[in-house]
Symmetry: C4
Subunit: 209 residues, 4 copies
């Protein structure tokens, strides 16, 4: 087996996260021109920008989502110290989903701003998050199984804290997927709570290093 | 608390800065074709390129702005040696604004070239810069509060020099925001002076390392 | 000769891989709008997404292809420890092909979904893969010739395992290129087998590090 | 003065080079569809691809140009070991040009394929290369002046070899700029020779490290 340190895997992943989070901005299309190519005056420019708030909401939401995924990835690789082909493949699967996430987010922002009674966009959004939570679990379970790829000095309590936190992720996202077909706002609120839940470490103030 | 070194945070931020600064070039649309898809001869090509100078000005200005933000980020992380979840979130907030900055810049270049009497684009530009200056302050105050995340060998005079320099940033940008509603050129000149002010270190020639 | 360590060459290559794999997402154009700019309801949105499955297949296939190329690049640079101008040029040639690979893949996905009887797209796809396999060989043979740029502690059996695995790559891809003109599905299956073959290390479980 | 090591400057520059070289691929627009959105059969697909060779030539040329610039940047930073604000600003200026280079290249490829008698595109191309050569000189002269930012163990003969090689760059590119107004092919050939000249190290086989 090729087991190596994780430097290049982290550098490559950071690159993918950085590009994915920056490409989000391409969805914002500010233009100071009207449809005939003439420049707008302040009044019309203001109206024009005002109409674009769903795109701005999608930008901020996607940015926060990918940012929180990066914080999680970072946290896992504090403990994962070696890599093999299996880990590389699970990591690629996770990155595939992270690069994809802006699409359901933009679709949701676009739809929900105008058709709050439609369920499909919210379901696709929650469904993508569910699959993402499963992929994070696969990566972590693969690496932490019998401490296979973890550092020798890993604190077992940190590993357990992550195990516990990650156990409920897919289940709760699956509930938000179900809710999307019944009541869209409550599904979105659950998604928001879950994002914040994954932004903070598993068992907060443990010890100072 | 997960406190770790800042290597991955810097690598991820460098990636975001690098992508954001390079994507600027996508706004330039040189084309050697006329609107019917025929190739232009030298005379018409020259006229065509000549009409695009606002885009070139926006490219150079945005590039310089993001570049100077990178120099500032670099300077802060000479002193910040550890990271925790709070710092990662403040850093993400800052990156969100840095990735966004090309939009107000392009809008301003487009508008100001033709409608120098309109105020909104200049106000949005100064306003974005004000929020950015506040975010830089939040990041720095969070990290330097009681030397929380600074290196042990940090020179307190360097920290104070940054503190002093950063104190005036948001105030002065707020003034440029006010000026944008009164007199656009003086607002732009103040923005330019502030950019140069933040490009140089807080208390210039201190000591050689 | 400028012989140096490979850190920057790996960082630059990781950056190119990361950008190339992330740009794939730009080919997906989800839109919740119909051709007149009105928002679609759930039923029409579903149909619209459903029609885009060739784009999704192309996204996943290209992502997997570039990901496996990254795993291979990573594996070679476990052994290559120094760099010179020749290696940099061979590496650039390889990156040129890797950045290009999404095009034949998208073309194939688009064509094969509708015209399974047409051969050209499959031939271009196999042909690009053949050239890529040759470039991987050039890079590796250049570096490993008389152990020129390999680490001093490289296991000769690992080098031989890579040599053996890489020997058959171009030949087998050339066969898939020939098959593309005769029978497209069998050519695609051979390409798939080859991708999986290159995803796993040369001589699987050798020893644990 | 903030003098620090060059790690982050190199990482940021590598990121910019990597994004710039990968974005080149966005100029290639393979499409298996005709202008009405129908899929092309093999015969028409072949014709369609065949018409796009100027785009492919521009892709390969720009990729080689940016790649060779990266090799040069890499070579200089083998010797440059510390950074200050001045170096960061000269480096940003250089990156501004490197990110810009695909435009004159694409313009030239587009024009020269159809209007070989027009001079402007070739002049813009040579002019951009001249400015780039000047920026490389500024960066290097700033860093190497009295060995200001070079490593302590830098071989003075390597520094002199780079000095000599860089002295002629701007002059020769200026000649190619002049030639563009007289005879386009000879200007292009001179540009090609210069690119190859800068791809190889200053004084080739010196010693093995």
């Amino acid at each position: 087996m090729d087991e190596k340190n994780t430097n290049r895997l982290e550098a490559f992943s950071d690159g993918v996260f950085a590009v994915a989070i920056t490409l989000l901005v391409l969805n914002i299309k500010f233009s100071g021109l009207d449809s005939r190519g003439n420049l707008l005056d302040d009044q019309h420019l203001w109206n024009n920008l005002h109409d674009q708030w769903p795109l701005l909401v999608a930008y901020v939401t996607s940015f926060a989502t990918i940012g929180i995924m990066w914080i999680n990835h970072h946290r896992l690789f504090n403990h994962i110290k070696r890599t093999d082909t299996g880990l590389q493949l699970f990591n690629l699967l996770l990155l595939l989903l992270i690069v994809f996430i802006p699409f359901p987010t933009a679709l949701l922002a676009q739809q929900y701003a105008v058709h709050p009674d439609q369920h499909l966009a919210a379901a696709i959004y929650s469904g993508t998050n569910t699959i993402m939570a499963i992929c994070f679990n696969l990566l972590w379970r693969y690496a932490s199984y019998h401490n296979r790829l973890l550092g020798k000095d890993t604190d077992p309590r940190s590993v357990q804290a992550i195990n516990r936190q990650y156990l409920f992720g897919p289940l709760l996202y699956l509930i938000s997927f179900g809710l999307a077909w019944i009541n869209v706002p409550s599904s979105l609120i659950l998604n928001l709570i879950l994002a914040l839940f994954f932004a903070v470490p598993g068992r907060p103030p443990r010890q100072l290093t």
